[in-house]
């Protein structure tokens, strides 16, 4: 029991520090693309601590307080159902009790909590941001579900640990074994990470910063921490599902960083779609590839 609690805390700590490191790199990398120096690597940590150190934060009743809490809780729960390492007792959370389908549901808890909190704040931009987020979700989930379905039918299991275990050699990695599923999932991966061209939710020039518009001080600190941790959970999930998992933390970091780098490059290169264009895009190319792969899959069964 004590071990589980310690393990969970460790997972939180690891994702937080990994996330801050990656997003520190993100800011420096972006700055270099912009031909400037950029902030120090730990600027995100400083920002985060500063947000918690603010004296005031606007309140709009109990639901508003609960929003960031629900989001953070959703993140941590999803985190606990994702195994970080294979062949190890460490950093497993409750992954032996859960499976991929449960995880897909858990990952939607965050936006839900956000929607509730933003709803009570009454900020039109926030409501619009949440609507945009939910609309975008329609676009993202379809390719994601398709690729996950392919994966589950391919591996014959819905347990993440077992999918991860099955990929024992490089040629066995799901990105090699199921390339169509991997490519389709990458589209929704970029979207889920909130990179351009799918960053419609918090677009500052359109809806201020969307759902975050009314959050300040400690709420924003929670949201920022939650965001980086959630990004790491997604990265680790993708590593588990497609990149063959990791046996230790360093391999985990190497693999997830490769994915992160892909997301960073795509995000830096593109302007932003409109919401319906993003959904349209998602429902065209990725969907066609995905459905094609599914058909091929069932044909060969």
């Amino acid at each position: 029991m004590l071990f589980t609690i310690f393990n969970s805390l460790l997972a939180v700590l690891l994702t937080y520090s990994m996330g801050m490191l990656y997003y520190g790199f993100y800011r420096i990398g972006n700055a270099r693309i912009h031909r400037r120096v950029g902030p120090p690597l730990w600027q995100n940590v400083i920002d985060n601590i500063k947000l918690f150190a603010k004296r005031e934060a606007p309140g709009h009743g109990i639901m508003f307080h609960l929003g960031p809490v629900i989001m953070t809780a959703g993140t941590i729960t999803s985190m606990l159902f994702v195994p970080f390492l294979k062949d190890s007792a460490w950093l497993q959370g409750f992954s032996s009790y859960g499976n991929l389908i449960l995880l897909i549901y858990l990952m939607v808890v965050g936006p839900l909590g956000n929607a509730l909190a933003v709803g009570v704040s009454g900020v039109p931009f926030g409501v619009m941001g949440v609507t945009r987020g939910l609309t975008r979700l329609i676009g993202l989930e379809v390719p994601f579900f398709l690729s996950v379905a392919l994966l589950m039918s391919g591996s014959g299991t819905i347990s993440i640990s077992e999918i991860m275990m099955a990929q024992d050699s490089f040629s066995n990695w799901n990105m090699m074994a199921h390339p169509a599923a991997f490519i389709v999932s990458l589209f929704s991966f970029v979207g889920m990470m909130g990179a351009s061209p799918f960053d419609v939710v918090g677009a500052p020039v359109e809806v201020y910063s969307g759902p975050q518009a009314e959050f300040g001080g400690k709420y924003l600190g929670f949201l920022a921490a939650q965001r980086v941790m959630f990004s790491m959970v997604k990265l680790i999930l993708w590593v588990d599902l497609f990149l063959g998992g990791a046996t230790n933390v360093f391999i985990l970091m190497a693999k997830s960083f490769a994915l992160f780098f892909f997301y960073f490059i795509v995000g830096a290169a593109f302007p932003r779609f409109k919401t319906e264009q993003a959904v349209d895009f998602m429902l065209k190319l990725p969907l066609i590839i995905g459905i094609g792969a599914v058909l091929v899959r069932f044909w060969s069964l």
Partner: protein
């Protein structure tokens, strides 16, 4: 944190009590991360893009843009303020979260500048809002704007950038000054309700 400069280290050594060290640390984080709400109230708005982009790169110093007042630490008022703008600026300022700072760019917020005889711009910003740093010039160059940020950082580290506290303590004075300009078209009372412990209103 090896980017503590010499000045910071010297200050740190002088501190005696543990609480002072905590205060010092909190102020250090505050000064290293400044979310800026650039309100383009006037000409100075044209020098904000160079300040935050590749040539002058304010992000090196932890200064980055914030989209909404709720998230911002400092509001940069870039230039003269027309009466119509001032009202929105006050509203924006009141929406920001403490601790909050005001940087005013250009000569116009200080004494009216070259618009001293204009019927529609205010002449002294610090009558209506507590200004922490003013950067003089028409208009201040990006280097000067950065210098203003450095001055603000020093002030924060010393714990003297308490404009918000000043605004809270002297709310009557500020509101009366604002009333001189807006007359009966004052901002609605609820915008500053939280400044009154007894829930008073204007």
């Amino acid at each position: 944190m090896d980017n503590l400069n010499k000045k910071d280290k010297a200050q740190l050594k002088e501190l005696k009590s543990p609480m002072a060290v905590v205060d010092w640390a909190v102020n250090w984080f505050r000064k290293q991360s400044i979310f800026m709400l650039a309100y383009g109230t006037g000409c100075g708005a044209i020098e904000i893009p160079p300040t935050v982009t590749a040539r002058y790169d304010a992000e090196r110093f932890g200064v980055r843009g914030a989209a909404t007042p709720r998230q911002a630490d400092v509001i940069v008022l870039s230039g003269y303020l027309a009466v119509k703008t001032l009202k929105r600026v006050i509203r924006t300022y009141e929406q920001m979260q403490e601790p909050k700072y005001v940087i005013a760019l250009g000569s116009c917020p200080i004494n009216g500048g070259m618009y001293w005889d204009s019927y529609n711009t205010i002449k002294q910003l610090d009558r209506y809002l507590p200004v922490d740093v003013t950067v003089a010039g028409c208009m201040p160059r990006p280097e000067a704007v950065l210098e203003g940020f450095m001055a603000l950082k020093d002030k924060i580290q010393r714990g003297e950038a308490e404009g918000a506290r000043d605004y809270r303590d002297n709310i009557e004075k500020y509101k009366n000054n604002q009333k001189e300009i807006f007359g009966d078209k004052m901002l609605p009372g609820y915008t500053c309700d939280w400044y009154f412990s007894d829930g008073g209103s204007f």
